[in-house]
């Protein structure tokens, strides 16, 4: 069992998304250990991209701030390599595909592995286009996390499950990051469908903002991802952001484990 899957072993996992380099990579390097200490079980480190078409306004603005301070994929990996020893939890790298293409898929997988990255999620790379990255990741023991959406039909869920290692990320609604979470019924249905075809843990994200929402989602899922709400709070005030992380973490961790 790899580090990422282990994070789900004893309790519901709380996954925190932040945009690397927002507002600078030095800030991110200081934040990562603090976020782990505040109760995150996995940290999803987002690589800023100029054209984040899957992201809502909060993460778009975060990416703009990060790019304005000169953040690059190489820079993010360098920062992680230097600070990895201080971060006690697994790191999931979230990125769009183009920065990886710019570096080269093999060079990226080597650098990510050397930086202590545990898993990679490429939001605009469905399994059909991912053979090269899957192979390069497998060769370096990097887990591959894929999204399953409420629109994904059962046959595709099986295919995505086969390609996934680490965990499966269920998108709570059709929409972009930071939108409003609708009812929980699609989440319950989606998670149940995934469980039929995979033994991997299932985390749910997109639109989870409050401890109450996180607690409700944690009843169904093995893990809960919160991004925009934390990114927004951290941008306003780091102390307030970390206290939001703490209250979200305790809400998720209170949910009864299987």
């Amino acid at each position: 069992m790899n580090r990422v899957t282990t994070a789900f072993a004893n309790r519901k996992a709380f996954i925190v998304y932040i945009t690397a380099g927002d507002p600078t990579l030095d800030d991110t390097a200081r934040l990562l250990p603090a976020i782990a200490a505040a109760g995150a079980d996995i940290i999803e480190v987002g690589v800023p991209f100029s054209d984040p078409s899957a992201d809502g306004p909060v993460i778009q603005r975060a990416a703009e701030r990060a790019l304005a301070s000169g953040t690059t994929l190489r820079g993010v990996l360098d920062m992680l390599r230097r600070t990895r020893a201080q971060i006690s939890v697994p790191i999931l790298l979230f990125t769009y595909m183009n920065p990886i293409v710019a570096i080269g898929i093999d060079a990226f997988a080597s650098a990510a592995s050397a930086a202590g990255v545990d898993a990679v999620l490429v939001v605009d790379l469905p399994p059909e286009e991912a053979a090269d990255l899957d192979a390069a990741s497998a060769a370096r023991a990097l887990s591959r996390v894929y999204l399953v959406a409420p629109t994904t039909p059962p046959a595709r869920i099986r295919r995505i499950a086969r390609a996934s290692t680490g965990f499966i990320y269920f998108v709570s609604m059709t929409g972009i990051t930071g939108a409003n979470l609708g009812g929980l019924e699609p989440v319950e249905r989606g998670v149940a469908q995934i469980r039929k075809v995979s033994l991997l843990p299932v985390a749910v994200g997109f639109g989870v903002a409050t401890p109450d929402e996180a607690a409700r989602v944690a009843k169904t899922a093995d893990g809960v991802v919160v991004g925009s709400a934390i990114v927004r709070a951290l941008a306003e005030d780091a102390t307030r952001g970390l206290s939001l992380v703490r209250s979200l973490a305790s809400a998720v961790h209170r949910a009864p484990s299987k």
């Binding site: 469905p126 286009e129 629109t151 998108v171």
Partner: protein, 394 residues
């Protein structure tokens, strides 16, 4: 070769939520291609509503200046004033067939937005058009037309506030409202199957041109020239000539202030392979894979990507790609207006600006007997304010 790819280019690089919608579109498109009723309706609308076939005009005065015979394919005379309507009609029929309830689109120059707003009015769809606020400022007449047609024009303030950002915002809308909304992409770009669908609907330009030039000149042309932003008018006129090895195909990109200044939109000249807007293609980007800001006087060419089939044609050598600067396009805009009484869109003016460069680009001298077809992809009414404002500057 995989149907979703052109050589190594194309594919489907989008968030998972959209994949089933793209698969549904691919199936619906394949069914429509085999459905005689659908094809009859498309042909009827192109003839009776769009006004096809558009003429092929022999440009006598321009030919004397150029030193070879120049024919103009007159997409400026299509309904709404540009070739974009060919694809708008085709995809609106698809949307109706798929029982979608709403259209969305992105637009740069506004011609695709106008075409989409037009077919939305015709077929009774509500319609939202995303447009960068920079483009809204420089293409005001088209914004008014879209509103008159009943579309909502939604300004996009993100990024560079141009076409690429409008496309990002349209993708965000689509991923949110994917059930029930049809995304009507205007160029041969984006995830599979869009580059194929848009090229097929635009290929009517090339099919007509083949028949018309045979009648007018007694043979196929030596050269076909078209401007390339995303590349839909070029793909449409090139495709039916693709297998005619003797017909040279020339695509003209926007060199803005000049390629050496870095302020341009000549993607195939300066870009590298990347993944952008759902496709693997050539992309203008920095060393770290961030998409670069582009510049062109022509909003319709101001785009850092290019359709994957053009990337393939460049790699295979089938099409020769060159570029024209803002100033060259402006000069060609005035030349066609004064010499032939035709006001071209600034996009099309880039294709016309290539005429003096053709011999050099092709590596052999064109003679008085050479036959060259230029695709006049749209008319220039929308650009008058841009041209006048630029020329009023001291």
């Amino acid at each position: 070769m995989n149907a979703s790819r052109f050589g190594d280019f194309g594919g489907r690089y989008v968030a998972e939520t959209l994949i089933p919608a793209l698969e549904e579109l691919e199936r619906a498109y394949a069914d429509s291609a085999k459905d005689r009723g659908f094809q009859t309706e498309l042909t009827r609308l192109l003839r009776t509503y769009v006004g096809r076939p558009t003429p092929l005009t022999f440009a006598a005065n321009l030919s004397r200046r150029a030193g070879f015979r120049v024919y103009l394919k007159r997409e400026d005379l299509a309904h709404t004033g540009a070739h974009k309507i060919n694809n708008g009609i085709g995809q609106a029929l698809l949307a109706r067939r798929m029982k979608k309830r709403r259209l969305i689109a992105e637009t740069g120059a506004g011609q695709h937005g106008v075409a989409t707003a037009t077919v939305a009015a015709l077929f009774g769809f509500p319609c939202d058009v995303y447009m960068g606020s920079e483009d809204i400022a420089r293409q005001a007449p088209n914004v008014s037309r879209m509103k008159l047609l009943g579309a909502r024009v939604i300004p996009v303030e993100a990024g560079t506030r141009t076409l690429k950002d409008a496309l990002n915002e349209a993708l965000r809308d689509w991923v949110t409202n994917v059930q029930g909304t049809y995304y009507l992409i205007g160029s041969v770009a984006g995830p599979h199957p869009y580059p194929t669908i848009v090229r097929d609907f635009q290929s009517v330009i090339g099919r007509e041109t083949r028949a018309q030039i045979r009648r007018a000149a007694g043979r196929l042309p030596d050269v076909v020239v078209a401007c390339v932003g995303g590349g839909s008018n070029a793909a449409g006129i090139f495709k039916p000539f693709e297998r005619e090895g003797r017909v040279r195909l020339v695509g003209v990109e926007a060199a803005g202030d000049g390629i050496s200044t870095g302020r341009h939109a000549a993607t195939l000249a300066e870009g590298r392979v990347g993944v952008f807007h759902g496709m693997r293609s050539v992309v203008l980007q920095d060393a770290d894979g961030q998409i670069r800001e582009t510049h062109s006087i022509s909003a319709g060419l101001d785009y850092p990507g290019v359709g994957p089939e053009h990337a393939f044609w460049k790699e295979s050598g089938r099409v020769t790609y060159i570029s024209a600067t803002d100033n060259e396009a402006l000069a060609a805009f005035h030349d066609l207006t004064r010499l032939e009484g035709i006001v071209p869109a600034l996009e099309s003016a880039h294709a016309l600006a290539a005429l003096p460069k053709l011999s050099r680009a092709l590596g052999h001298r064109l003679t008085r007997k050479s036959v060259v077809v230029v695709n006049v992809s749209g008319r220039g009414d929308k650009d008058l304010a841009t041209v006048l404002a630029r020329e009023a500057k001291p």
